[in-house]
Symmetry: C2
Subunit: 248 residues, 2 copies
DNA sequence: CGGATTGTTGAGATGCCTCAAGTAACGTGG
DNA sequence: CCACGTTACTTGAGGCATCTCAACAATCCG
């Protein structure tokens, strides 16, 4: 978890409390965009703590850690995952700048999964009870939190759907691309930060299958692939493939 | 959706407003169990509307319908599902007494899926804005709603995991059994209310595979199966199979 | 430079699917 | 209450998508 100095936390000067631009942060957006009154916006800003940077491979929290704070990714990419009884790793999601991690921990007040930095990661975090209390006074913030959680259900349910390897991989790549497009860069080049194994565990595939489907995509002119550098060449056809998974 | 008289609503006298025992209702539990102050509890009770009964096969809401009200199943079983671009049905979940449906609709204020009664269903429903407003005054209710949504994320993520057919089927049967055990009846007999096709679409299997795995379970002494009547014979081994899917 | 990690590619195995047929339960109308 | 058509479930045979195992290639990193 994030607020105790457990072994989970790497000893890299978390840089607590330093002010930081939160333009890309979902929580801040929840605050700014929705015309919260100024006092509440200030209060939310005051609750926010900057955490990190965490190095590639560092655990942000581990399964079973107590949950205290709502946390958003400020920069970098986070992978959340569980390891089941048989030792298989299941990746629950990849989270980039502006996305909130660990929402599944509210229920039991413990994280039901691990979170790991895939590259240097910085976080914005605010104590959950304080945010909830603030949401009590600021109805807009409360609704925004409800919407955030509701969206989390939809995203997870989408992953649970029964789609083929190429549909899931296309949807995955487009999701990454759309996130980048939404946060500035419109280039069709993706630099994946996760390994083939991570992608495979996320999409319920073998790593070899991820490789093969990507090569097939390349052969079909959908994209160009070189290790972790992906250039999307035919968004329309990728969208047609991924389209099935849309859920409205 | 639930509060307009759209074609979705069957014309079977929804019995609006009749008082009803809500002992099994998650929303009421959220209220009663957590020491909400009495005024808020009364208010929540006042907001609650009894809906139904809905006949087997009736749509409770359809994809795209506007979302207005938080709704819990009071009796019966509800299936939520989407139909993708290729015409395949994906079952998102089965919801029994005390479970809240349509939480994934808060985000966009529209239902992203369909809901159908699998047997005679009655519902308890309360306007979402009113509940949210009440949660603003009653912090316990607010936290309970956060927890409810958070739990929804966990449940959905669990379904997204990569498990084998027998693991998923075992987990499915145990989930049903545990719900029954939690709400009274401790008999090891289940009467499935959903078809093999529904189960298959939920577990990402073919109906034939559901049949075959059940027969194999029977052959291995895990259970006895006759059409929709399932008698669980070896909970320990079923749990061992399902155990992998636990997510903490 | 050399070992470790990661990604690609091939060959064969397999879990689950598809297609097809058969059987049992259900509902409906007579 | 029975005859019938319909739907739901089961069972078998064969096929396909994906997995596993194995080797190799490329990159990373000390």
């Amino acid at each position: 978890m994030l607020f105790d100095s457990t072994p989970s936390l790497p000893a890299e000067d978390p840089d607590l409390g330093s002010p930081r631009s939160c333009d890309a942060c979902a929580l801040a957006r929840a605050c700014d965009v929705n015309s919260l009154d100024l006092a509440c916006r200030r209060e939310l800003q005051r609750l926010m703590q900057a955490l990190g940077p965490f190095a590639r491979g560092a655990y942000l929290f581990r399964e079973g850690d107590p949950f205290h704070a709502i946390t958003a990714v400020h920069s970098g990419t986070v992978k959340t995952f569980v390891v089941d009884a048989a030792g298989r790793e299941h990746v629950l999601g990849f989270f980039q700048a502006g996305e909130v991690i660990g929402l599944n921990a509210i229920h039991a007040a413990r994280y039901p999964c691990n979170a790991m930095a895939l590259d240097p990661v910085t976080l914005c975090s605010a104590p959950f009870p304080a945010v909830a209390a603030l949401a009590t006074r600021a109805g807009d913030l409360q609704v925004q939190l409800f919407r955030l959680l509701s969206h989390g259900i939809r995203k997870a349910a989408r992953m649970a759907g029964d789609y083929r390897a190429d549909e899931r991989l296309a949807a995955f790549l487009l999701d990454l691309w759309q996130h980048r497009a939404a946060t500035g860069c419109g280039s069709p080049c993706l630099d994946l930060v996760m390994s083939r194994a991570d992608i495979a565990n996320y999409l319920r595939l073998a790593t070899e299958t991820v490789s093969r489907v990507m090569q097939r995509f390349q052969h079909d002119g959908l994209l160009r692939v070189n290790r972790r550098r992906i250039e999307l060449l035919d968004l329309a056809r990728l969208e047609a493939l991924a389209g099935a998974t849309s859920l409205t």
